[in-house]
């Protein structure tokens, strides 16, 4: 067993975590203003934006993967623009994976943040405006610190969801070892070639880590509720 573990290639795991970490950071920056806007607006465009944001939850990953692949390929204006301007090939590259993951995991970042913001006492936010603080300062100093459980849920679930994605990464990234072959795709490949031992080890590692991460989130949230007397 020790021998197997020693000779095992863990690059796919490293790639998975790198992808998940980058996706979480980028998505946080993008989703934070969006979630804040959705929680505060009374605009008629709100349901439309919410529906678009939630699409990746219901779409088959192959649909999203297909459109992403099409959009990132050199035949589309977007893909061509990146290739001509920055010399980056997006399809079947790690950069392309990150972009695709951001779309795919978007609802998992936006929704917890939005519901966190919506649960805040409106009077409290208005008290901040009356105290002379701008919307941005209110978001950073009042809203965010008071939705820590939602914030952590958003970050962790986005991270975990990105580690766990399969269909989209397979379609957009292919399975290029060391570049786009992430853990979930690696397991698929192992099963294909009937290397069940490796598949078992990989899968077991995935289960244990996912469980530990989720456990940590729930413990943290319970502590937060006690500390601030949240409901």
């Amino acid at each position: 067993m020790g021998e197997i573990l020693r000779t095992m290639d863990f690059t796919p795991f490293v790639l998975s975590f790198k992808l998940a970490a980058l996706t979480s950071v980028i998505l946080f920056a993008v989703a934070l203003p969006l979630a804040w806007y959705l929680s505060q607006t009374r605009s008629k465009a709100k349901p439309v934006l919410e529906a678009v944001t939630a699409l990746p939850i219901v779409l088959p990953p192959s649909v999203l993967g297909f459109y992403m692949l099409w959009a990132l390929s050199a035949h589309s204006p977007i893909g061509a623009f990146f290739e001509d301007t920055f010399g980056i090939k997006l399809a079947f590259s790690f950069t392309g994976l990150v972009i695709a993951s951001c779309f795919y995991s978007m609802p998992f970042m936006v929704q917890p943040l939005q519901s966190g913001f919506e649960s805040l006492n409106r009077n409290m936010l208005e008290a901040s405006y009356i105290a002379g603080k701008s919307r941005f300062a209110t978001l950073l100093k009042v809203a965010l610190p008071n939705i820590k459980p939602s914030l952590l849920t958003a970050l962790i679930v986005t991270f975990a969801h990105t580690v766990g994605e399969f269909g989209v990464v397979l379609m957009v990234g292919g399975s290029i070892p060391g570049k786009t072959k992430v853990a979930s795709v690696a397991i698929y490949d192992m099963v294909e070639v009937m290397d069940y031992t490796s598949a078992h080890i990989y899968s077991a590692i995935m289960i244990v880590m996912s469980f530990l991460v989720l456990l940590a989130v729930y413990i943290f949230n319970a502590k937060q509720h006690k500390k601030f007397g949240l409901q």
Binding site: M124, E126, A127, I130, A131, G132, S134, G229
Partner: protein, 284 residues
């Protein structure tokens, strides 16, 4: 001097109504705003604070807060606002809540001393009682040395003893800072103790404006006592009838004749009054 003339159409619980208020408020005045729920009191405060838009003009000591062209956002109006539910920042200590409004440590210390919160300044809001939280909220509202202090039923969630204590503190702060104040309240005794002027609002219009005595004392002519209450029961006792009336938190029995009893319906609003007699007052 605050001059205002505002209009807004509202869709309240009783259907559409037009809020239309034009008044002047003297510097350092303490104005109570009263009336049934849904009469537009809170909306009026929110318009003053700039939290809601309305047509019209608001000018505060010569500075235009809003007119046809300008609209000063809440951030730029020098106001303090006390919410019924305190609305403190749960992630900040008592002291931080105050300093968030204005980085003035000296004023914060003074306000905390005045309201006896000094020993609690490092505590988080959720560990305080309702009365303590509302005092923090009051102090926070004073931190910007506001030109106008707005309070929306600030004491209605507190028990009677705590109300009395906070009424005294509000009075003390008003004496100390002389802040022009508009307070929404349903409690006549509270209004009587604190306010120098009362506005009675109904369906978005001011229907009565005067001193607390003029607006709140409901006796007319030779009536000495006059209370409004709800008729709970009428029971026959020998040849007379005894009506049980609920007034405020108390039940009283009133003797009525059989002819009077016929006209009364259980559950209706009644007025219990009496003409000249010699009441006795005994310390309770």
């Amino acid at each position: 001097m605050i001059q205002l003339e505002i209009r807004k159409s509202l869709h309240g619980s009783a259907g559409a109504m037009n809020l239309s208020i034009g008044i002047e408020i003297k510097e350092q005045d303490f104005v109570a705003l009263t009336g049934k729920s849904g009469s537009g009191k809170t909306t009026f405060l929110r318009i003053l604070a700039g939290l809601e838009r309305a047509e019209g003009n608001i000018t505060v000591s010569g500075e235009v807060w809003q007119d046809g062209k300008h609209f000063l956002p809440p951030q730029q109006r020098k106001i303090g606002y006390v919410f019924q539910d305190y609305a403190l920042f749960p992630n900040m200590t008592v002291e931080e809540n105050l300093l968030f409004a204005e980085k003035d440590k000296v004023l914060a210390e003074r306000l905390l001393e005045l309201t006896e919160l000094h020993d609690l300044k490092k505590r988080l809001p959720h560990s305080l009682s309702g009365g303590q939280q509302q005092r923090v909220s009051l102090c926070r509202a004073m931190m910007k040395r506001p030109k106008l202090l707005l309070m929306d039923e600030p004491l209605s969630a507190l028990d009677p003893d705590m109300r009395m204590k906070l009424q005294n503190e509000i009075l003390a702060l008003h004496r100390e800072f002389g802040t022009t104040t508009v307070m929404v309240s349903h409690d006549p005794s509270e209004i009587y103790r604190l306010a120098s002027r009362v506005l009675l609002l109904e369906q978005g219009q001011i229907i009565n404006d005067g001193s607390p005595k003029e607006v709140l004392l409901q006796t007319q002519g030779s009536q000495k006592f006059s209370f409004e209450g709800e008729l709970l029961d009428i029971a026959k006792a020998d040849v007379i009838y005894v009506a049980v009336v609920s007034i405020g938190q108390q039940l009283v029995e009133v003797v009525v004749s059989s002819r009077e009893a016929e006209k009364l319906k259980i559950g209706q609003k009644v007025r219990v009054s009496t003409k000249a007699f010699a009441p006795m007052i005994v310390g309770a």
